[in-house]
């Protein structure tokens, strides 16, 4: 079956530093990849998404590139802010008629002053 792996459970950084949150996936179909962000006591919401190989997608200073050759969709930001502290989920929608999204376990990002 499909799977999504996020290797970091917790990332702690100082404001202004760059960050990369890892996401790799497995599927037998052509994938749609998503990053969702969940701030404390809120619902998850879309941060960015992509299905195009080797094309960078950006939103709110975050960016990610889908690399089908390595089955990866890492999330990056060049300079984190305090407001970026949140839980980040990588998710996969397969394209083979199965509409069951698969989520990674999430990475908690904590940004210190």
């Amino acid at each position: 079956g499909d799977s999504v792996t996020q290797t970091e459970g917790l990332v702690t950084l100082t404001k202004g530093l760059p960050v990369m949150l890892n996401c790799t996936y497995q599927t037998t179909y052509s994938p749609f990849l998503f990053w969702y962000v969940q701030h404390l006591n809120e619902a998850p919401k879309l941060l960015l998404k992509s299905s195009t190989d080797n094309k960078r997608t950006e939103h709110q200073g975050f960016y990610a590139t889908l690399h089908k050759s390595s089955s990866s969709f890492h999330l990056q930001k060049s300079s984190v802010q305090l407001s970026d502290s949140a839980l980040y989920f990588c998710a996969l929608n397969p394209s083979g008629g199965n509409y069951k999204p698969t989520f990674g376990k999430g990475t908690s990002l904590v940004v210190h002053p």
Binding site: G9, F32, F34, Y36, E42, A43, P44, K45, L46, K49, S51, F89, A91, N93, S95, Y99, K100, P101, F103, G104, K105, G106
Partner: protein, 112 residues
């Protein structure tokens, strides 16, 4: 902006009692989902639906039932609630192919 509304926001139930969590979406999405969120486990899929009248088992369906009486409404039912079902529950709609998932605000359920 897509809208998904959950009720209640908070619920305290007794062990062995019946609990119904409700979800309504005005997005006209075919697909709807119920997840639970626990620390260390991320979002785990309980049940989902492709449309009115359909329900499918997710990854952790034991102890839960679901009902989709209409395009807009999707309920999660705990017939005999147990303390292990204490969690935060999210409903979502969308999610097919390139579609984004839109989440409700969540229901915090405590089973005593």
């Amino acid at each position: 902006e897509a809208a998904v509304t959950q009720s209640p926001r908070n619920k305290v139930a007794v062990t062995g009692g019946k609990v119904t969590l409700s979800c309504n979406q005005t997005n006209n999405h075919n697909n709807m989902y119920w997840y639970r969120q626990d620390t260390g486990h991320g979002l785990r899929l309980i049940h989902y639906s492709y449309g009115a009248g359909s329900t499918e088992k997710g990854d952790i369906p034991d102890g839960y039932k679901a009902s989709r009486p209409s395009q807009e409404n999707f309920s999660l039912i705990l017939e005999l609630a147990t303390p292990s079902q204490t969690s935060v529950y999210f409903c979502a709609s969308g999610g097919g192919g390139a579609e984004t998932l839109y989440f409700g605000s969540g229901t915090r359920l405590t089973v005593l």
